[in-house]
C-alpha cells in the first residue's frame, strides 16, 4: 500500500537553530499515529510543515501522491488541522467562525450550516452557537476548533494537543471520535505529550527527541524493543538523560533550606 503521508529527510531551521534534523516517516491511510516528544522536540514544527504553514523546509513531503512544495493548495483541501493553542477570532460566534472556515474551503453555505449545527450539537455547544467566543472557556474554544477541522470532511486530520483544557467527558467523546474517524478510513496524526491517551488511541507511536525520530512502531513493537515498560517510562528513558525523580528531590531540598 502507498503511504498517504511520506516524509523524507525533513530538515527545518529557525534562524541558526536547527529544529528538525532529518525526520523520516511513512504513514498509511486509516492509521492513527501518536506523535510524541518532549517540549521543543519539533512536534509542532512538523505539524505546521504538514499543514503548509511553514513552506521553507528542506527534504521531501509527499501527501497522497502530491508534493507539498508544489501542490500545497490541493493538499490543504485534504487536511483538517486543530492548532495547539485555542487560537481563533474570539469576537466572532462559533456559527460565524465556522461559516468563514466553510467559505475558505469553498463549501456551499448550506452544507457548512448543516454540518456545523450537527457537529456542535454533538459537542454540546448547540446553545452557544450564537454567542461570541470571548466568553468561552478553553474547552469550548477547543471544541469549536475541532469542529473547524472536520467541517470540510478531510481525509487527514492533524490534531496538535487536542485535549488541552477539555473536561473528562469531552475527552471521552474525542477518543471515540478518533477511533470512529479511523474506521471511516481517515488518517489521524495525533500530536501530544499526554502518554496515557496516546497509548490508548494510537495504533502506531512515533517518538521524537531533539528533531529526530527515536522510536517508531506499534506499542507492542516498542515494548519488544525497549522492554516491558509503560509508554511513560519508555519516553523518559529515551528523552531524558538524567533521572527525573532527582529534580523532585532537589526541589524538596531547596524548600527545606
Amino acid at each position: 500500500m502507498e503511504p498517504i503521508i511520506s516524509i523524507k529527510n525533513l530538515y527545518k531551521n529557525y534562524g541558526k537553530k536547527e529544529v528538525l534534523k532529518g525526520i523520516n516517516l511513512d504513514i498509511y491511510p486509516g492509521q492513527v499515529i501518536g506523535y510524541i516528544g518532549p517540549n521543543g522536540a519539533g512536534k509542532s514544527t512538523t505539524v505546521k510543515i504538514l499543514c503548509g504553514l511553514l513552506p521553507d523546509y528542506r527534504g521531501e513531503v509527499i501527501i497522497k501522491g502530491l508534493n507539498l512544495k508544489t501542490d500545497s493548495i490541493q493538499i490543504k483541501r485534504l487536511l483538517g488541522y486543530v492548532p495547539e493553542l485555542a487560537e481563533l477570532y474570539e469576537v466572532l460566534t462559533p456559527a460565524e467562525f465556522l461559516s468563514l472556515v466553510g467559505d475558505l474551503y469553498e463549501l456551499p453555505p448550506e452544507t457548512t450550516k448543516t454540518r456545523m449545527e450537527k457537529i456542535l450539537a454533538a459537542l454540546d455547544l448547540k446553545d452557544n452557537l450564537h454567542q461570541r467566543m470571548d466568553t468561552f472557556s478553553k474547552g469550548m474554544k477547543q471544541k469549536v476548533l475541532i469542529a473547524s477541522a472536520l467541517i470540510h470532511n478531510p481525509e487527514i486530520i492533524i490534531l496538535d494537543e487536542p485535549l488541552n483544557g477539555l473536561d473528562a467527558n469531552t475527552v471521552i467523546i474525542i477518543k471515540h471520535l478518533i477511533s470512529n474517524l479511523a474506521k471511516e478510513g481517515k488518517t489521524i496524526f495525533y500530536c501530544s505529550h499526554m502518554m496515557d491517551i496516546v497509548e490508548k488511541v494510537s495504533e502506531k507511536i512515533v517518538l521524537i527527541n531533539d528533531g529526530r525520530v527515536v522510536a517508531n512502531g506499534t506499542f507492542l513493537e516498542l515494548k519488544d524493543q525497549l522492554g516491558d515498560k509503560s509508554l511513560e517510562q519508555m519516553f523518559a528513558g529515551l528523552t531524558s538523560g538524567n533521572s527525573l525523580s532527582g529534580a523532585a528531590e532537589e526541589i524538596i531540598l531547596a524548600m527545606n533550606q
Binding site: 499543514c51 493548495i73 488541522y81 469576537v91 466553510g102 452557537l129
Partner: protein, 567 residues
Amino acid sequence: MSKHLTKFILWFVLLPASLYKKFGVEIPKLKSILNAKLLMDDRRVNGLYKTKSGQHDHNVSSATLITMFISLIMGAVFLTAFTFEKDLTCFTVYFSFVIIILSLFLITDFTQVLIDVKDNYIILPKPIRANTFIATRLLHIFIHVSKIVIPMSLPALIMIGITRSVWGAFSFIPIMILLTTFTLFLVNAIYLFILKIFSPEKFKSIITSVQIVFAIVIYGSFQLMPRMMNESGLNEADITDYTFIWLIPSYWFAGAWKFIYSFTPDMNLMICALLSVAVPIVSIWLVIKYFAPAFQNKLTLISSGSSSKQIKADTQDITNIHPGYSLLLAKIFTQNVAERGAFLFTWKMTTRSRDFKMKVYPQFGYLIVIIALMFYRSVSHHSINALLDGTADIRIPLLTLIYLSSFILLGAITQLPYSENFNASWLFHTSPLKNPGQIISGSIKATIVKFCLPIILFVMLASISVIGTQLIPNLLFGFVNTMLISSIIGRIMMNKLPFSSPRKNMSEGQNTAKGFFMLFVFGACAIPHYFLFNFNWVISIFTIISAGGTHMVLQSIKNISWSELKE
C-alpha cells in the same frame, strides 16, 4: 527618571507610616504591594495614549510621566476658561472641564489600574490583613488620581496666582481636592450604572467606546475651544443669569472658591460652599458603604468569564448567521465564496474588535472635528446664501468633503492587517485557496462599503437637496475617484491578510512616505477634477474611465499570490 519618581511617591505616601500602623496596617507588605502596583502603572499605556500612537504595551516604561505630561497640557487648554470675565462663569467653566476630562481619564483606566481583579487571586490568598489591603487600594487610588490632578491644576493655579491673588491660588487647592473627590464618586456611579444596564460582556466594549469618545473630545477641545473663545463675544457671558446653573455641580465649586477668595457674606455663595463640602463627604460615604462592595462583585464577574453561563440559550435560527443587510451587501459586491466569507468576516471584525475600533474610530471623530472646523470657518467667511444661489465658489468645499472620505478609508485600510488576535490567522494559511488575494479583496471591499459608502450617500443626498441636481456628474466623478483612490491604497498597503499581524510601530520614514504617496494620489484625482468641474461631458467620460480603473485595481488585488504576502 520615572524610577526616581516612583521612589519619591513611595517615600511620600509612607510618611505617615506610624499612623497607618495604628490602624493595623502592615507597613512592609503595604510598601511592597504599592511598589509593584506603581511599577505596573508605569508599564501600562493609558487609553488616550494608546489611540494616538502605535506603541505596543510591552516596551512602555514611563507611562506615568507621559500621563502627567498629557494632564499638564490638558490643564493648559482649560485656561481658555479664564477668558470669561466674570469670576463665577470662568470658574464654573473651568471646573466643568476638570470634571469631564478627569472622569474620562479615570473611566478609561479604572478597571485596569485602580481595581485590579487579579488582586483576588494574587494578593488575597496570601497572609495579609484586611486593613493592609484596604490601605494599599486607597493609597493607590490616591497616587493615581494625584498623578493626573496635580499637573492638570498647575496651570490654573499659576494663572490664578497672577490674575487674582496668591490667596486666590491658595483657596483653589482645597476646592480642587473636594472636586476630585466628587469626580471619583461620579466615576464610580457611572461605572455602576453601566454595569447595571449592560451585561458584563458588553461592559468592555462600552469602556472602549468611552475611550474613543475621550480621544475625540480631547482632540476636539484642542482644536475648537481656543478658537471659539477668541472669536465670539462669549467672554462677557454671565451664567448666574440662569437658575438652572444650580443643577451643575461645577457651579457649586466655583461659588465655594469665590466665597473663600472674597469672603463676601453672599447667601448664594454660602450655599455653594456648603454644597461643595457636603456633597463630596456624602459621596465618599456612599462609595465606601454601598458602591465599592457592589463594584467589586460586578468586576469579579467580568473577568472570571463565568457569566457566559447566565446568558440564555440562543433560540436564533441558524439561517441568520449574518444579519440581513451585510449578507445582501456581500452578495452584491463579491464574486465567490471565499471573497464573500472574507467580506463578512471583515464586516464583523471591524465592528467588534476593540483593537481595531480603538485605532480607527477616533480618526472618524477627528475628521468630523476637522469638517466642523472648516464649516465654522467658511460660514464666517461666506454667507450661506451665497453658496445656495451659486454665486460663491463651491468647488473647494465640495471637493474637500468628497475626497476627505478617502482619508477615512486610508485609516481603516492601514489598520486592517492588525489584530490582538493575530494568531488565529493560521486559518487562512491552512485553507486551500489559490490566491490569498480573494480574502484581501473581500476584506477591502467590506471596508469600502462599510466606511465609505455611507459618507458618500450622505454627502450626495445632502448636496443634491441643498444645491441641486446639477451637481450629480461631479458628485459621481468624485466618488468613483474616491473608490479608485481607496482601491489603489488597498492594493499597495494590503500585503498582509486581514487581522493577521501583531501591531508594530511604523517607522517615521514609512509614515512620511505613506503620507506623500497619499497626497500624490489625492492630488492626481482632485486637481484635474477642480479644473474640469464645469464641463459635465468631460466629467462623465472621466467617470467611466475612473470606474474602469477601479475595477482593474480590484481585480488585481484578487490576484495577489501567496508569495506576494509579507509576513
